[in-house]
Symmetry: C2
Subunit: 328 residues, 2 copies
């Protein structure tokens, strides 16, 4: 197969025996053309498998019908469900999606952002955790953020992280846990997940119990993560409850617990976070805080469309629920 | 915030006090320009947050540096790991990715395909399970398929499905299972996963055992899937081994087994398929056939680049391994 030779407008004109202007008129539905001429040109296009260059056409049009998405990764049950649902909704509304996964790398995120802007996306949905990308604010582009405060004029769709922190911690307290550890992301970043920690600290303090949070970097390897989590079992106090940053962390801790002879939930109770479809399917026994992932995705798409249409929109916080598994 | 007004070339020219031609020269690094003029134009571009219209520029260029991907869904541990890894590799090689998730809907797949072609992607990586899209063959476009025979000139990257079927079935036979059921996709489609079934049937027949395959539609709901799987426990023969189509199906069956009072692995042994990172993390006890997902992704990107550069490439089949969990 010959690589990459695309038939051009002149090839169609030659095959149909008409001028390039005539082909162009057929393509753009402009000017007077006989049925016969139209049929001739369309037949030539079909035979040559000619596809009009949408790039050229977009020059005359304000919209590209492309939406950009920048997220940390698609390889995570929370983000993959979120991205899949947004893509589904965007497609339903006539948009195609350009995705960029930043892997929490600010340089890669910036690069993707620039690329998406130069590709003239109609709008952007962002869910990355890095900061300092003031480009989001400078660009005259409709942007919606998910679960991240990106800039002061950018609406955010999130679920109630503080409520989630309260629900998780209260469940462990109600179960009789007194030595509860919380895992979270890096402390330096002002991410909404820190609200879960604040809720945890608030309840622990209210109950005169020490609040201990393990902060983990985003890009830490699985092996290093396990090393950190081992400290939970090896260092005092003897832990009896864990409020994990997400379901995959909860699963890693559950797997480690058996190594240390801890029975779940008898010796150690665990509450995860996210409650994606995949987690609920693979690990239905995990008690976890369930974010309304599909609703967040649908709402983000609605808000972006409103922004594209020039409407002002406000940030929205959706409630979370607890999934009652067997680990707490 | 004002919606969607993008500064134009003439705005930059006006702000810099130069002609449009001069701005265009600065953008395209063409013609003689003084350092002072360049600085003036660049300053104006920065202040206006002007971004050159890449769409217009691509008209003069053969490549868009865009690669399209069409897959059934991103919301599945196998595909999300595969797509994430391909995106990582493509980014490393200077490409951005346009994705379309077909949800196994031929109309949606066709629509995405047309869109990607009109967006002038440099190449396409496809992993969808529907057929009849002869467009893949007609388009003069570099295409690589993953695990799907798409057309006779299109190279396929796959893992050894027949070997996987042998490994899974042999493990269950070695464990002493005699009533082994296999789950798979719809029989009508000539997908490579049918090779797993053929391997299963081959080994069962060789051992004088009946081969029973449950065929499930792709878009079946979770509830309907469970209904089908219940028949495994409710209909004779009394099953003692299951070779599941994928890890999420294996997990669903494991969850059902306890309802029917079946202990795993004592009463029932199960082997899954895929062995993605997420599955191994959330369900490490599952014995499963592990596809080399990252290697498949890396290879698909390599082959596509070779095709884009006009080289001929051949299909590749990678070996699979068995992950030794506790379910078989």
């Amino acid at each position: 197969m010959e690589a990459n030779h695309r038939p051009k407008l002149e090839d169609v004109a030659a095959a149909a025996g008409v001028s390039k202007t005539t082909v162009s008129r057929v393509l753009n539905h402009r000017g007077y053309l006989s049925e016969k001429t139209i049929a001739k040109v369309q037949k030539a296009m079909q035979e040559l498998d000619y596809r009009p260059n949408i790039i050229a056409r977009q020059l005359y049009k304000q919209r590209t019908d492309l939406v950009g998405m920048i997220f940390p990764t698609v390889d995570n049950p929370f983000f993959s469900q979120l991205e899949a649902e947004m893509e589904r909704q965007l497609y339903r509304n006539g948009y195609k999606v350009l995705i960029g996964n930043s892997q929490n790398d600010p340089a890669k995120e910036e690069n993707y952002l620039q690329q998406l802007l130069t590709h003239q996306v109609d709008g952007l949905i962002v869910g990355t955790q890095n900061r300092g990308l003031i480009g989001y604010q400078h660009a005259n582009l409709p942007v919606v953020a998910i679960d991240q405060v990106v800039g002061k004029n950018i609406p955010v769709v999130s679920s109630d992280n503080y409520q989630g922190g309260l629900l998780a911690t209260q469940r462990l307290l109600d179960d009789g846990c007194r030595h509860i550890i919380h895992t979270n992301g890096p402390l330096g970043l002002d991410t909404p997940t820190q609200k879960r920690r604040e809720a945890y600290e608030h309840l622990m303090t209210k109950n005169n119990l020490p609040a201990i949070t393990y902060h983990l970097d985003f890009n830490i390897s699985t092996i290093d993560k396990e090393r950190v989590f081992r400290r939970i079992f090896e260092e005092p106090p003897e832990v009896d409850g864990i409020f994990a940053a997400n379901d995959t962390d909860a699963s890693t801790i559950i797997n480690l617990a058996s190594e240390y002879g801890k029975r779940i939930p008898e010796d150690l109770k665990i509450v995860g976070y996210d409650g994606s479809n995949v987690t609920r399917l693979l690990l239905p026994g995990l008690t976890t805080i369930q974010q309304p992932i599909d609703e967040m995705a649908d709402l983000a798409v609605q808000l972006l469309q409103a922004r594209i249409n020039g409407q002002n929109v406000k940030s929205v916080v959706l409630p979370v629920t607890i999934w009652n598994g067997k680990t707490a």
